[in-house]
Amino acid sequence: MHRGLATIVTFVAAMAAAASLAAAQESGRPRVIAGCPTTDNLAFHTCALQKAKTFNPPRTASGRPNLQGYWRGRLTQAFSVEGVPADDPLIKDPIMPWVAAPPEVIEPADGRIPYQPWAAALGRRGVNFKEYIDPRTTCSTAGIPRLALQDAGQILQPPTEDHILWLHDDHHQFRAIAMGQRPAVGRDVKAWNGLSRGRWDGNTLVVETANLNGYTWLDDSGNFYTDTARLTERLTMIDPDTIHYEVTLEDPTVYTRPWRLAWALVREKEPGFELIEEACREGERSLGRLREQGARFYFGVPWRFR
């Protein structure tokens, strides 16, 4: 069952992810971004933090860093945030070959997610990968931060400075980042992309997200968090066309300590580029077959049914 399932899952993933293949192809990894080395994401991250100290970003009328425009994830692939070793058997997969890549994890330094033992058996191409449907295949959001590594996104900053809107090609996802102090939202209100609040820390946009429903995965390998996760993203321009993107993941249910991912968002400069509508459910044909093969929706009891 697993072998057949894996093939179909891979095939469906190939169909569903055709548009994001460019982002998944590490072979196109640039040697330098914004003057920073890209040998691994930690090297880029360390250099980018230095650049951020001196770079004076373009600004909005009210003096905030102007992050507006179209952006694509770089130094990313969606196979595994822990990277793909050169001897990984899936690199030779005849249907959807994976590509060797360094980890997107920059902390801990070994590039491994600090899972609690029970969770390590689920993520990291474990039970999730073998027995459960990648939630993105249900036409959901890719989730945070996976949205930021697949396909193109657009940031809009209304001059009223009360919200920042981050739009994504992927399954017409959006994130309304409410700036400043807002009334807290009760923990029983959950959403696929959670609810986000933002603030400026100098030239860095800091986005804190909770109220996640915990269904989404971090990558194709089934790495995950649950509905108790809290995410803190930091977006900092390090040259006119590059944002240093960093996210800290905390989830006492799953991890032994907070950990971090980092990569680059690079400006999409193709003339006339616009986001397009990527309807998904409206043309979805493969979920029924996946279910017939025995793939299931979520490993545990979803928060809603507890």
Partner: protein, 257 residues
């Protein structure tokens, strides 16, 4: 006595209303730094257009409502009258809404769920609680991309006509309906929407519906959008397709465990 009483009321009314007349004619509306009306915020209709665009009595689960169609009648071509009736009869399963699809435009504007408007000098973006829908309305002078393109929420290009945002929408599919009563259109649908703030908390929404394959002439709907003013209001999430997946997953989990 009677005459004198009326006169004093009249005088009092004049005294009260005269200085305010100017304000009543042009209520203040919020504006962006560039002087355009500021349409931003969370909005929602308070009508029954989602169930039926036209006058209708209550049915079980359907609130009674007065229509939003100017002139009451929708000018269907003869074949389309029949199709609308068939749609109505089969609505429990034939309505694309029951499959959890994106509901199309203008239907997404009058779902009984809130939506949020964001505005920059070059974009007006609308994000919807229903189905994670997004409309990006370009106000940067760019034209529609060349068709044929079939998008569930169409392609929207806007311009300002004084204080009114005018949005031209084309490139639709024929897979969406206009309401739960089976009113429908083809992929040749062309909309012209007009968003006019009539005060800080109200937008008059007018939409002209043109579809030469289905209707004999263009027709118009008019309704009000109301600002959601609860201090803690936020756009949450109602994605019917994913809720269906979740229910299905839970059924399977209970079966296997």
């Amino acid at each position: 006595m009677r005459h004198g009483f009326s006169s004093s009321i009249l005088v009092a009314a004049l005294l009260i209303s005269a200085p305010r007349a100017g304000i009543a004619q042009a209520p203040a509306i919020p504006r962006m730094p560039d002087g355009r009306p500021n349409l931003q915020g969370i909005w929602q209709v308070l009508n029954t257009a989602a169930w039926d665009l036209q006058d209708h009595s209550a049915r079980l689960g359907v609130p009674a409502g007065q229509g939003v169609v100017d002139g009451t009648e929708i000018p269907y071509q003869p074949w389309a009258v029949k199709r609308k009736q068939e749609n109505f009869a089969a609505r429990a399963t034939a309505d694309p809404e029951t499959k959890g699809y994106l509901p199309g435009v203008p239907r997404i504007m009058y779902t009984p769920f809130p939506f949020q408007i964001f505005q920059t000098p070059t974009h007006v973006a609308m994000t919807f609680e229903y189905a994670q829908g997004v409309r990006i309305i370009y106000t940067n002078g760019t034209p529609h991309p060349e068709g044929p393109i079939e998008w569930w929420l169409g392609d929207s290009r806007g311009r300002w006509d004084g204080d009114t945002l005018v949005v031209d929408v084309v490139h639709f599919t024929d897979q969406t309906w206009l309401d739960r009563a089976g009113n429908f259109h083809s992929e040749a649908l062309h909309l012209v929407e007009r968003y006019t703030m009539t005060g800080p908390d109200h937008i008059t929404y007018e939409v002209t519906v043109e579809d030469p394959k289905v209707f004999t002439r263009p027709w118009k709907m008019t309704m009000l959008l109301y600002r959601r003013k609860e201090p803690n209001v936020r756009l949450l999430e109602y994605v019917p397709g994913l809720l269906m997946e979740e229910e299905q997953g839970e059924l399977e989990r209970r079966k296997t465990n």
